[in-house]
Symmetry: C2
Subunit: 257 residues, 2 copies
Amino acid sequence: MPRYSLLVEYDGRPYCGFQAQGDLPTVQASLERAILRFSGEAVRVTTAGRTDTGVHATGQVVTFDLEKTFKAGVVRDAMNAYLLPEPVSVLDAAQVDPDFSARFSATGRMYLFRILNRRAPPAIDQGRVWHVKKPLDADAMIEAAKCLIGKHDFTTFRDLRCQSNSPVKTLDIARVKRIGDEIHLVFASRSFLHRQVRSLTGTLAEVGIGRWEVGRVKEALEARDRQACGPVAPPEGLYLTHVTYEANPDFEGRSSI
Amino acid sequence: MPRYSLLVEYDGRPYCGFQAQGDLPTVQASLERAILRFSGEAVRVTTAGRTDTGVHATGQVVTFDLEKTFKAGVVRDAMNAYLLPEPVSVLDAAQVDPDFSARFSATGRMYLFRILNRRAPPAIDQGRVWHVKKPLDADAMIEAAKCLIGKHDFTTFRDLRCQSNSPVKTLDIARVKRIGDEIHLVFASRSFLHRQVRSLTGTLAEVGIGRWEVGRVKEALEARDRQACGPVAPPEGLYLTHVTYEANPDFEGRSSI
Protein backbone atom coordinates (compact mmCIF):
# COMPACT_ATOMS: atom_id res chain seq x y z
CA MET A 1 0.00 0.00 0.00
CA PRO A 2 1.85 3.14 -1.20
CA ARG A 3 2.52 5.93 1.30
CA TYR A 4 2.70 9.54 0.18
CA SER A 5 4.25 12.60 1.78
CA LEU A 6 3.22 16.19 1.05
CA LEU A 7 5.00 19.48 1.70
CA VAL A 8 2.22 21.95 2.49
CA GLU A 9 1.91 25.74 2.71
CA TYR A 10 -1.16 27.39 4.23
CA ASP A 11 -2.58 30.63 5.54
CA GLY A 12 -3.97 29.72 8.96
CA ARG A 13 -6.49 32.57 9.14
CA PRO A 14 -9.64 30.77 7.94
CA TYR A 15 -8.91 27.55 9.84
CA CYS A 16 -9.55 26.33 13.38
CA GLY A 17 -6.02 24.98 13.42
CA PHE A 18 -4.57 21.99 11.58
CA GLN A 19 -6.22 19.10 13.38
CA ALA A 20 -9.65 17.85 12.27
CA GLN A 21 -12.47 18.75 14.69
CA GLY A 22 -15.83 17.50 13.51
CA ASP A 23 -17.30 19.89 10.95
CA LEU A 24 -15.07 22.84 11.81
CA PRO A 25 -12.86 24.17 9.01
CA THR A 26 -9.38 22.78 9.56
CA VAL A 27 -6.35 22.31 7.32
CA GLN A 28 -6.51 18.54 7.89
CA ALA A 29 -10.17 18.39 6.80
CA SER A 30 -9.34 20.36 3.64
CA LEU A 31 -6.41 18.10 2.77
CA GLU A 32 -8.40 14.90 3.42
CA ARG A 33 -11.31 16.23 1.32
CA ALA A 34 -8.94 16.94 -1.58
CA ILE A 35 -7.38 13.48 -1.27
CA LEU A 36 -10.87 11.90 -1.34
CA ARG A 37 -11.84 13.92 -4.40
CA PHE A 38 -8.85 12.96 -6.54
CA SER A 39 -8.32 9.39 -5.32
CA GLY A 40 -11.78 8.33 -4.19
CA GLU A 41 -10.17 7.14 -0.96
CA ALA A 42 -11.11 8.42 2.52
CA VAL A 43 -7.91 8.62 4.55
CA ARG A 44 -6.53 10.24 7.69
CA VAL A 45 -3.31 12.17 7.28
CA THR A 46 -0.47 12.18 9.81
CA THR A 47 1.13 15.58 10.40
CA ALA A 48 4.53 16.82 11.56
CA GLY A 49 3.00 19.65 13.56
CA ARG A 50 -0.52 20.39 14.83
CA THR A 51 -0.62 24.14 14.37
CA ASP A 52 -3.15 26.22 16.34
CA THR A 53 -5.98 28.37 15.00
CA GLY A 54 -4.57 31.22 12.90
CA VAL A 55 -1.05 29.77 12.73
CA HIS A 56 0.49 29.52 9.25
CA ALA A 57 2.85 27.05 7.60
CA THR A 58 5.30 27.30 4.73
CA GLY A 59 6.80 23.85 5.29
CA GLN A 60 4.22 21.60 6.96
CA VAL A 61 4.59 17.89 6.16
CA VAL A 62 1.87 15.22 6.11
CA THR A 63 1.84 11.51 5.21
CA PHE A 64 -1.00 9.19 4.20
CA ASP A 65 -1.59 5.82 2.52
CA LEU A 66 -3.61 5.07 -0.60
CA GLU A 67 -4.72 1.79 -2.17
CA LYS A 68 -3.86 3.02 -5.65
CA THR A 69 -0.48 4.14 -6.89
CA PHE A 70 -0.12 7.63 -8.41
CA LYS A 71 2.91 9.48 -9.74
CA ALA A 72 4.07 12.06 -7.16
CA GLY A 73 3.60 14.93 -9.60
CA VAL A 74 0.04 13.82 -10.27
CA VAL A 75 -0.70 13.79 -6.53
CA ARG A 76 0.73 17.32 -6.12
CA ASP A 77 -1.16 18.81 -9.07
CA ALA A 78 -4.43 16.99 -8.34
CA MET A 79 -4.33 18.13 -4.70
CA ASN A 80 -3.78 21.74 -5.75
CA ALA A 81 -6.58 21.55 -8.31
CA TYR A 82 -9.06 20.31 -5.67
CA LEU A 83 -7.80 22.62 -2.90
CA LEU A 84 -8.44 25.82 -4.84
CA PRO A 85 -9.58 28.44 -3.91
CA GLU A 86 -8.57 27.59 -0.35
CA PRO A 87 -5.29 29.11 0.92
CA VAL A 88 -3.68 25.67 1.15
CA SER A 89 -1.07 24.64 -1.40
CA VAL A 90 0.90 21.43 -1.92
CA LEU A 91 4.45 22.51 -2.73
CA ASP A 92 5.80 19.03 -3.25
CA ALA A 93 4.73 15.40 -3.10
CA ALA A 94 6.68 12.14 -2.92
CA GLN A 95 6.07 8.44 -2.51
CA VAL A 96 7.90 7.42 0.67
CA ASP A 97 8.78 4.25 2.56
CA PRO A 98 5.77 2.63 4.27
CA ASP A 99 7.53 3.11 7.62
CA PHE A 100 8.12 6.85 7.06
CA SER A 101 5.88 9.03 9.24
CA ALA A 102 5.53 12.82 8.93
CA ARG A 103 5.20 12.88 12.70
CA PHE A 104 7.38 10.11 14.12
CA SER A 105 10.22 10.28 11.58
CA ALA A 106 10.70 14.02 12.12
CA THR A 107 14.03 14.83 13.78
CA GLY A 108 13.57 18.59 13.90
CA ARG A 109 10.99 21.35 13.60
CA MET A 110 11.59 25.02 12.92
CA TYR A 111 9.22 27.93 13.53
CA LEU A 112 9.42 31.57 12.48
CA PHE A 113 7.59 34.28 14.42
CA ARG A 114 7.14 37.60 12.59
CA ILE A 115 6.60 40.77 14.64
CA LEU A 116 5.76 43.96 12.76
CA ASN A 117 7.36 46.61 14.94
CA ARG A 118 6.11 49.99 13.80
CA ARG A 119 3.48 52.50 14.86
CA ALA A 120 1.16 51.91 11.88
CA PRO A 121 -0.89 48.71 11.71
CA PRO A 122 -0.19 46.19 8.92
CA ALA A 123 -2.24 46.66 5.75
CA ILE A 124 -0.73 44.12 3.37
CA ASP A 125 0.29 41.68 6.13
CA GLN A 126 -2.91 41.86 8.18
CA GLY A 127 -3.34 38.54 10.04
CA ARG A 128 0.16 37.40 9.09
CA VAL A 129 2.29 39.33 11.59
CA TRP A 130 1.96 40.32 15.25
CA HIS A 131 1.72 44.09 15.38
CA VAL A 132 3.75 45.60 18.25
CA LYS A 133 3.62 49.42 18.26
CA LYS A 134 6.23 50.13 20.92
CA PRO A 135 9.85 50.06 19.70
CA LEU A 136 11.47 46.73 20.52
CA ASP A 137 15.11 46.51 21.59
CA ALA A 138 16.25 43.59 19.42
CA ASP A 139 19.68 43.45 21.09
CA ALA A 140 18.09 42.96 24.51
CA MET A 141 15.87 40.21 23.07
CA ILE A 142 18.91 38.51 21.49
CA GLU A 143 20.69 38.62 24.85
CA ALA A 144 17.65 37.30 26.75
CA ALA A 145 17.10 34.45 24.25
CA LYS A 146 20.55 32.95 24.90
CA CYS A 147 19.54 31.30 28.19
CA LEU A 148 16.78 29.36 26.40
CA ILE A 149 19.15 27.40 24.16
CA GLY A 150 19.91 23.84 25.27
CA LYS A 151 18.11 21.20 27.35
CA HIS A 152 15.68 22.69 29.88
CA ASP A 153 12.44 22.07 31.73
CA PHE A 154 10.17 24.45 29.79
CA THR A 155 7.17 24.17 32.15
CA THR A 156 7.03 27.99 32.35
CA PHE A 157 6.58 28.22 28.57
CA ARG A 158 4.12 25.36 28.22
CA ASP A 159 0.35 25.73 27.88
CA LEU A 160 -1.55 24.12 30.79
CA ARG A 161 -3.40 21.92 28.27
CA CYS A 162 -0.13 20.56 26.85
CA GLN A 163 -0.30 16.78 26.51
CA SER A 164 3.42 16.13 26.18
CA ASN A 165 4.75 13.50 28.61
CA SER A 166 7.70 15.63 29.65
CA PRO A 167 8.27 19.42 29.87
CA VAL A 168 11.96 18.82 29.18
CA LYS A 169 12.97 19.80 25.64
CA THR A 170 16.22 20.74 23.92
CA LEU A 171 16.04 24.07 22.09
CA ASP A 172 18.70 24.06 19.33
CA ILE A 173 18.04 27.56 17.95
CA ALA A 174 16.55 30.68 19.55
CA ARG A 175 17.43 33.50 17.14
CA VAL A 176 16.19 37.09 17.10
CA LYS A 177 16.85 39.41 14.17
CA ARG A 178 15.60 42.83 13.08
CA ILE A 179 14.76 43.07 9.38
CA GLY A 180 13.56 46.59 8.59
CA ASP A 181 10.23 47.15 10.36
CA GLU A 182 10.04 43.49 11.38
CA ILE A 183 11.60 41.41 14.12
CA HIS A 184 11.94 37.74 13.22
CA LEU A 185 12.31 35.08 15.90
CA VAL A 186 13.41 31.60 14.81
CA PHE A 187 13.16 28.57 17.09
CA ALA A 188 14.31 25.03 16.29
CA SER A 189 13.96 21.86 18.34
CA ARG A 190 13.31 18.16 17.84
CA SER A 191 9.81 18.87 19.15
CA PHE A 192 7.97 21.66 20.95
CA LEU A 193 5.51 21.89 23.83
CA HIS A 194 2.01 23.29 23.24
CA ARG A 195 2.19 27.10 22.76
CA GLN A 196 5.93 27.02 23.54
CA VAL A 197 6.99 29.28 20.66
CA ARG A 198 4.23 31.81 21.33
CA SER A 199 5.04 31.75 25.08
CA LEU A 200 8.74 32.32 24.41
CA THR A 201 8.03 35.07 21.85
CA GLY A 202 5.59 36.94 24.10
CA THR A 203 8.07 36.75 26.96
CA LEU A 204 11.00 37.98 24.85
CA ALA A 205 8.79 40.83 23.62
CA GLU A 206 8.43 41.99 27.24
CA VAL A 207 12.22 42.34 27.32
CA GLY A 208 12.18 44.14 23.95
CA ILE A 209 9.62 46.66 25.19
CA GLY A 210 11.69 47.19 28.33
CA ARG A 211 9.07 45.91 30.77
CA TRP A 212 11.31 42.98 31.71
CA GLU A 213 15.02 43.01 32.54
CA VAL A 214 17.06 40.62 30.36
CA GLY A 215 17.83 38.43 33.36
CA ARG A 216 14.17 37.88 34.22
CA VAL A 217 13.78 35.41 31.32
CA LYS A 218 16.32 33.06 32.92
CA GLU A 219 14.53 33.43 36.26
CA ALA A 220 11.20 32.63 34.60
CA LEU A 221 12.69 29.53 32.91
CA GLU A 222 14.17 28.31 36.20
CA ALA A 223 10.92 28.93 38.07
CA ARG A 224 9.31 26.04 36.11
CA ASP A 225 6.00 27.78 36.80
CA ARG A 226 3.46 28.76 34.12
CA GLN A 227 2.66 31.84 36.19
CA ALA A 228 6.19 33.12 35.56
CA CYS A 229 5.61 33.25 31.78
CA GLY A 230 5.09 36.57 30.00
CA PRO A 231 1.98 37.19 27.88
CA VAL A 232 1.53 34.57 25.14
CA ALA A 233 2.06 36.07 21.67
CA PRO A 234 -0.95 35.86 19.28
CA PRO A 235 -1.05 33.15 16.58
CA GLU A 236 -1.02 35.38 13.50
CA GLY A 237 2.77 35.90 13.47
CA LEU A 238 3.66 32.21 13.74
CA TYR A 239 4.82 30.01 10.82
CA LEU A 240 5.87 26.36 10.80
CA THR A 241 8.66 26.75 8.25
CA HIS A 242 10.71 23.58 8.27
CA VAL A 243 10.57 19.93 9.30
CA THR A 244 13.72 17.82 9.15
CA TYR A 245 13.91 14.11 8.39
CA GLU A 246 17.22 12.30 8.64
CA ALA A 247 15.59 9.18 7.27
CA ASN A 248 14.50 11.06 4.18
CA PRO A 249 16.77 14.07 3.61
CA ASP A 250 15.42 14.47 0.09
CA PHE A 251 12.04 15.36 1.50
CA GLU A 252 12.39 18.17 3.95
CA GLY A 253 10.00 20.97 4.71
CA ARG A 254 11.45 24.31 3.68
CA SER A 255 10.61 27.93 4.27
CA SER A 256 9.32 30.12 1.49
CA ILE A 257 9.73 33.16 3.72
CA MET B 1 -4.45 76.57 5.39
CA PRO B 2 -2.18 73.68 6.46
CA ARG B 3 -1.34 70.98 3.94
CA TYR B 4 -0.64 67.42 5.02
CA SER B 5 1.15 64.56 3.32
CA LEU B 6 0.61 60.88 4.10
CA LEU B 7 2.73 57.83 3.33
CA VAL B 8 0.23 55.03 2.72
CA GLU B 9 0.36 51.23 2.51
CA TYR B 10 -2.59 49.22 1.19
CA ASP B 11 -3.68 45.83 -0.05
CA GLY B 12 -5.41 46.55 -3.37
CA ARG B 13 -7.58 43.41 -3.39
CA PRO B 14 -10.82 44.82 -1.97
CA TYR B 15 -10.61 48.09 -3.90
CA CYS B 16 -11.61 49.22 -7.40
CA GLY B 17 -8.28 50.98 -7.66
CA PHE B 18 -7.10 54.12 -5.92
CA GLN B 19 -9.19 56.78 -7.60
CA ALA B 20 -12.67 57.61 -6.25
CA GLN B 21 -15.51 56.36 -8.48
CA GLY B 22 -18.93 57.20 -7.08
CA ASP B 23 -19.92 54.67 -4.43
CA LEU B 24 -17.40 52.00 -5.45
CA PRO B 25 -14.87 50.96 -2.80
CA THR B 26 -11.63 52.77 -3.58
CA VAL B 27 -8.54 53.62 -1.54
CA GLN B 28 -9.19 57.32 -2.10
CA ALA B 29 -12.76 57.04 -0.76
CA SER B 30 -11.49 55.20 2.34
CA LEU B 31 -8.80 57.80 3.01
CA GLU B 32 -11.20 60.73 2.52
CA ARG B 33 -13.80 59.07 4.78
CA ALA B 34 -11.18 58.67 7.52
CA ILE B 35 -10.07 62.29 7.12
CA LEU B 36 -13.69 63.45 7.42
CA ARG B 37 -14.21 61.32 10.55
CA PHE B 38 -11.25 62.65 12.48
CA SER B 39 -11.22 66.26 11.25
CA GLY B 40 -14.86 66.89 10.33
CA GLU B 41 -13.60 68.25 7.01
CA ALA B 42 -14.60 66.84 3.61
CA VAL B 43 -11.55 67.02 1.36
CA ARG B 44 -10.19 65.56 -1.86
CA VAL B 45 -6.74 64.05 -1.68
CA THR B 46 -4.09 64.38 -4.38
CA THR B 47 -2.13 61.19 -5.06
CA ALA B 48 1.31 60.36 -6.46
CA GLY B 49 0.00 57.37 -8.38
CA ARG B 50 -3.47 56.20 -9.41
CA THR B 51 -3.09 52.46 -8.95
CA ASP B 52 -5.48 50.09 -10.76
CA THR B 53 -7.93 47.60 -9.25
CA GLY B 54 -6.06 44.96 -7.25
CA VAL B 55 -2.73 46.83 -7.31
CA HIS B 56 -1.02 47.29 -3.96
CA ALA B 57 1.14 50.02 -2.45
CA THR B 58 3.79 50.08 0.25
CA GLY B 59 4.82 53.69 -0.41
CA GLN B 60 1.87 55.61 -1.86
CA VAL B 61 1.85 59.34 -1.10
CA VAL B 62 -1.17 61.66 -0.85
CA THR B 63 -1.60 65.33 0.06
CA PHE B 64 -4.61 67.30 1.25
CA ASP B 65 -5.49 70.58 2.98
CA LEU B 66 -7.37 71.08 6.23
CA GLU B 67 -8.77 74.21 7.86
CA LYS B 68 -7.56 73.10 11.26
CA THR B 69 -3.98 72.42 12.30
CA PHE B 70 -3.13 69.01 13.77
CA LYS B 71 0.18 67.55 14.90
CA ALA B 72 1.49 65.13 12.25
CA GLY B 73 1.52 62.22 14.72
CA VAL B 74 -2.10 62.90 15.61
CA VAL B 75 -3.08 62.83 11.93
CA ARG B 76 -1.27 59.51 11.43
CA ASP B 77 -2.76 57.81 14.48
CA ALA B 78 -6.27 59.20 13.96
CA MET B 79 -6.26 58.06 10.33
CA ASN B 80 -5.22 54.56 11.33
CA ALA B 81 -7.86 54.42 14.06
CA TYR B 82 -10.63 55.33 11.59
CA LEU B 83 -9.27 53.18 8.74
CA LEU B 84 -9.39 49.92 10.71
CA PRO B 85 -10.27 47.19 9.85
CA GLU B 86 -9.60 48.14 6.23
CA PRO B 87 -6.25 47.03 4.74
CA VAL B 88 -5.08 50.64 4.41
CA SER B 89 -2.46 51.99 6.80
CA VAL B 90 -0.87 55.43 7.20
CA LEU B 91 2.84 54.77 7.77
CA ASP B 92 3.78 58.39 8.20
CA ALA B 93 2.27 61.88 8.13
CA ALA B 94 3.81 65.34 7.84
CA GLN B 95 2.72 68.95 7.50
CA VAL B 96 4.23 70.16 4.21
CA ASP B 97 4.59 73.41 2.27
CA PRO B 98 1.30 74.64 0.75
CA ASP B 99 2.89 74.36 -2.69
CA PHE B 100 3.95 70.74 -2.20
CA SER B 101 1.87 68.27 -4.23
CA ALA B 102 1.99 64.48 -3.91
CA ARG B 103 1.44 64.34 -7.66
CA PHE B 104 3.18 67.36 -9.20
CA SER B 105 6.16 67.55 -6.85
CA ALA B 106 7.05 63.90 -7.43
CA THR B 107 10.33 63.48 -9.30
CA GLY B 108 10.34 59.69 -9.38
CA ARG B 109 8.13 56.66 -8.92
CA MET B 110 9.20 53.07 -8.28
CA TYR B 111 7.17 49.91 -8.76
CA LEU B 112 7.87 46.32 -7.76
CA PHE B 113 6.25 43.41 -9.57
CA ARG B 114 6.33 40.06 -7.75
CA ILE B 115 6.06 36.85 -9.77
CA LEU B 116 5.72 33.58 -7.84
CA ASN B 117 7.49 31.15 -10.14
CA ARG B 118 6.73 27.65 -8.94
CA ARG B 119 4.37 24.83 -9.83
CA ALA B 120 2.20 25.14 -6.71
CA PRO B 121 -0.22 28.08 -6.41
CA PRO B 122 0.34 30.66 -3.66
CA ALA B 123 -1.42 29.97 -0.36
CA ILE B 124 -0.08 32.69 1.93
CA ASP B 125 0.45 35.23 -0.87
CA GLN B 126 -2.84 34.66 -2.71
CA GLY B 127 -3.77 37.88 -4.52
CA ARG B 128 -0.39 39.44 -3.81
CA VAL B 129 1.81 37.77 -6.44
CA TRP B 130 1.37 36.74 -10.08
CA HIS B 131 1.58 32.96 -10.19
CA VAL B 132 3.58 31.69 -13.20
CA LYS B 133 3.90 27.90 -13.22
CA LYS B 134 6.41 27.49 -16.05
CA PRO B 135 10.07 28.00 -15.06
CA LEU B 136 11.24 31.52 -15.96
CA ASP B 137 14.75 32.15 -17.24
CA ALA B 138 15.66 35.21 -15.14
CA ASP B 139 18.93 35.75 -17.03
CA ALA B 140 17.09 36.03 -20.33
CA MET B 141 14.65 38.50 -18.75
CA ILE B 142 17.54 40.56 -17.36
CA GLU B 143 19.10 40.66 -20.84
CA ALA B 144 15.82 41.58 -22.51
CA ALA B 145 15.10 44.36 -20.00
CA LYS B 146 18.29 46.26 -20.86
CA CYS B 147 16.89 47.76 -24.07
CA LEU B 148 14.02 49.36 -22.09
CA ILE B 149 16.26 51.60 -20.00
CA GLY B 150 16.52 55.22 -21.14
CA LYS B 151 14.27 57.61 -23.09
CA HIS B 152 11.89 55.83 -25.48
CA ASP B 153 8.49 56.05 -27.10
CA PHE B 154 6.66 53.42 -25.03
CA THR B 155 3.50 53.31 -27.20
CA THR B 156 3.82 49.51 -27.38
CA PHE B 157 3.64 49.23 -23.59
CA ARG B 158 0.86 51.77 -23.07
CA ASP B 159 -2.79 50.94 -22.48
CA LEU B 160 -5.04 52.29 -25.24
CA ARG B 161 -6.99 54.26 -22.61
CA CYS B 162 -3.82 56.02 -21.40
CA GLN B 163 -4.44 59.75 -21.05
CA SER B 164 -0.82 60.86 -20.95
CA ASN B 165 0.03 63.61 -23.44
CA SER B 166 3.14 61.85 -24.70
CA PRO B 167 4.15 58.17 -24.97
CA VAL B 168 7.78 59.22 -24.51
CA LYS B 169 9.12 58.38 -21.05
CA THR B 170 12.57 57.84 -19.54
CA LEU B 171 12.92 54.53 -17.72
CA ASP B 172 15.71 54.87 -15.15
CA ILE B 173 15.58 51.34 -13.74
CA ALA B 174 14.37 48.05 -15.25
CA ARG B 175 15.74 45.37 -12.91
CA VAL B 176 14.95 41.65 -12.81
CA LYS B 177 16.08 39.45 -9.93
CA ARG B 178 15.31 35.92 -8.80
CA ILE B 179 14.74 35.57 -5.04
CA GLY B 180 14.03 31.94 -4.20
CA ASP B 181 10.69 30.99 -5.75
CA GLU B 182 10.00 34.59 -6.74
CA ILE B 183 11.12 36.83 -9.56
CA HIS B 184 11.06 40.52 -8.68
CA LEU B 185 10.94 43.18 -11.36
CA VAL B 186 11.69 46.76 -10.33
CA PHE B 187 10.91 49.73 -12.57
CA ALA B 188 11.69 53.39 -11.84
CA SER B 189 10.82 56.48 -13.85
CA ARG B 190 9.78 60.08 -13.29
CA SER B 191 6.31 58.95 -14.37
CA PHE B 192 4.70 55.95 -16.06
CA LEU B 193 2.11 55.41 -18.78
CA HIS B 194 -1.16 53.60 -17.97
CA ARG B 195 -0.48 49.84 -17.52
CA GLN B 196 3.17 50.37 -18.53
CA VAL B 197 4.67 48.27 -15.73
CA ARG B 198 2.20 45.41 -16.24
CA SER B 199 2.76 45.56 -20.02
CA LEU B 200 6.54 45.45 -19.60
CA THR B 201 6.32 42.65 -17.03
CA GLY B 202 3.99 40.50 -19.12
CA THR B 203 6.26 40.96 -22.13
CA LEU B 204 9.44 40.11 -20.21
CA ALA B 205 7.67 37.01 -18.85
CA GLU B 206 7.23 35.82 -22.46
CA VAL B 207 11.02 35.93 -22.76
CA GLY B 208 11.40 34.16 -19.42
CA ILE B 209 9.10 31.34 -20.51
CA GLY B 210 11.02 31.06 -23.78
CA ARG B 211 8.12 31.99 -26.04
CA TRP B 212 9.94 35.17 -27.10
CA GLU B 213 13.57 35.56 -28.14
CA VAL B 214 15.43 38.20 -26.10
CA GLY B 215 15.74 40.46 -29.15
CA ARG B 216 11.98 40.56 -29.75
CA VAL B 217 11.48 42.96 -26.83
CA LYS B 218 13.60 45.62 -28.57
CA GLU B 219 11.67 45.03 -31.79
CA ALA B 220 8.39 45.41 -29.91
CA LEU B 221 9.58 48.67 -28.31
CA GLU B 222 10.69 50.06 -31.68
CA ALA B 223 7.43 49.04 -33.34
CA ARG B 224 5.61 51.72 -31.28
CA ASP B 225 2.51 49.57 -31.75
CA ARG B 226 0.26 48.30 -28.91
CA GLN B 227 -0.29 45.14 -30.95
CA ALA B 228 3.41 44.31 -30.55
CA CYS B 229 3.09 44.13 -26.75
CA GLY B 230 3.09 40.77 -24.96
CA PRO B 231 0.21 39.79 -22.65
CA VAL B 232 -0.37 42.34 -19.88
CA ALA B 233 0.54 40.94 -16.45
CA PRO B 234 -2.32 40.79 -13.90
CA PRO B 235 -2.57 43.47 -11.18
CA GLU B 236 -2.06 41.27 -8.12
CA GLY B 237 1.75 41.22 -8.34
CA LEU B 238 2.16 44.98 -8.64
CA TYR B 239 3.23 47.30 -5.81
CA LEU B 240 3.84 51.07 -5.82
CA THR B 241 6.82 51.03 -3.47
CA HIS B 242 8.46 54.43 -3.61
CA VAL B 243 7.82 58.03 -4.62
CA THR B 244 10.69 60.51 -4.68
CA TYR B 245 10.48 64.22 -3.90
CA GLU B 246 13.53 66.40 -4.34
CA ALA B 247 11.61 69.27 -2.77
CA ASN B 248 10.98 67.22 0.34
CA PRO B 249 13.65 64.54 0.74
CA ASP B 250 12.58 63.96 4.33
CA PHE B 251 9.24 62.71 3.14
CA GLU B 252 9.74 59.94 0.65
CA GLY B 253 7.68 56.87 0.06
CA ARG B 254 9.55 53.71 0.94
CA SER B 255 9.11 50.02 0.39
CA SER B 256 8.30 47.66 3.23
CA ILE B 257 8.86 44.71 0.91
